[in-house]
Symmetry: C2
Subunit: 214 residues, 2 copies
DNA sequence: ATTTTTTTTGACCGATTGGAAAAATTCTAG
DNA sequence: CTAGAATTTTTCCAATCGGTCAAAAAAAAT
């Protein structure tokens, strides 16, 4: 009982690799059909292995889902954490929007998995939402409120401002099919994220009011 | 073969009622778990009847789901249809936002069902998206573009403007759990929709730039 | 009151679900 | 090479899935 000689060596090289393959496949499946709509067989096939083999690495469906959610929330909030008092408030917010939009472009499956979880009421996730997440948003809301008090930003509700950034950016991942269907083949190509970035820049900077005629 | 004496009387009073009960229950279930994640037993229990009894009114799971989707898309696009050239462009857009936000408040399940369908790629729905929906959006985009050309609205991408309205308003239905978790018990009460309406008014009207000091 | 139609129920079906057990295989260290 | 551990496959299971069917019950029509 001195050197803690328990079983501390469960991490082989092949284990790490296969676990990564499984999580990757599970992300594909879960992000489309949600937790309940996805099957282990589906994930196993996407991962190129048999179901019992998959269950050798993750002992249950939940055990695959949970780490995905944790990882995603962490990545997801990174851009918000980086918003600080360094530069111009408008530039900070603009930068936050841009980073969030890039994440919707580069990690759409992660966004959809998160959305799926929200839609079903985020069971077993609700704790983190109104502790960790709420704390972070509260902190950034105070930061934004400070900017407003200094007259460096129009006075509005900082919480709903953050919501609107989440909503507008994630929309391009979660409702991708709709976006591309509406834009059509010409406008809906890869350039749609650049168009979105330009539009959002203007929206959050100055809104829709026309410039006064000189 | 003269008077077409087929079976043209399948609509009894009790049939209409039970069908309504079933669709109501199905909306509850489908909006949470999506099509694949929902079970007929679940819907039957929510509707207060046995599974075979439910299948007496709708002969398959898809037959319950399809009419829900059709009905929802129709209701969902109504506010957009009503946007026309009657009054001030900014007032028209403001009114559209308000109506859309009210729908997220009053019909959150419908919004979530729609979101669920988008997340899984809208199979058997894609047709309508880039015919009916695209046509409507194209028409309204032209209307908006006209306003911009007349200098009555800031010049931006009208498609992404519409997307941003969809995103910001539906967010309060689809991510309701997150919104309430972040806002907390005090700010997250019934008043959150009024706060959202005020914020969105300002965002779309004039953005976040601070007013110039006099 | 009785016939006919509509509605509901109970029993059941094959396929799929999440998961267990154990044998068979492959890998790795000595 | 060979023992031991790690990995994979085969087989299997009880529960649940979407859905059928015939019989019972309830309404409606006569």
């Amino acid at each position: 009982m001195t050197t803690d000689a328990g079983p501390p060596r469960p991490v082989t090289r092949i284990q790490r690799e296969k676990q990564e393959v499984i999580l990757e496949a599970a992300l594909d499946v879960f992000s489309q059909f949600g937790f309940r709509g996805s099957t282990i067989d589906q994930i196993a096939e996407a991962a190129g292995m048999s179901k019992p083999n998959l269950l050798y690495y993750f002992k249950s469906k939940e055990d695959i889902h949970a780490p995905l959610l944790e990882r995603i929330l962490d990545i997801w909030l990174d851009p918000l954490r980086e918003m600080n008092d360094d530069g111009d408030p408008l530039a900070e917010i603009r930068s936050y929007i841009r980073r969030k939009l890039e994440m919707s472009r580069d990690f759409p499956r992660e966004s959809r998995l998160f959305a799926n979880e929200m839609l079903r009421g985020a069971p077993g996730f609700y704790e983190i939402l109104h502790t960790d997440l709420k704390d972070l948003v509260d902190e950034k809301a105070r930061l934004i409120k400070g900017w407003m008090a200094e007259g460096r930003l129009a006075v509005t509700d900082p919480y709903h401002l953050i919501f609107s950034i989440w909503a507008t950016t994630q929309h391009y991942a979660d409702f991708d099919i709709q976006v591309r269907a509406v834009l059509g083949p010409d406008r809906g190509g890869e350039g749609r994220f650049d168009d979105a970035a330009r539009f959002l820049d203007q929206l959050f900077l100055s809104g829709l009011s026309p410039k006064k005629k000189a």
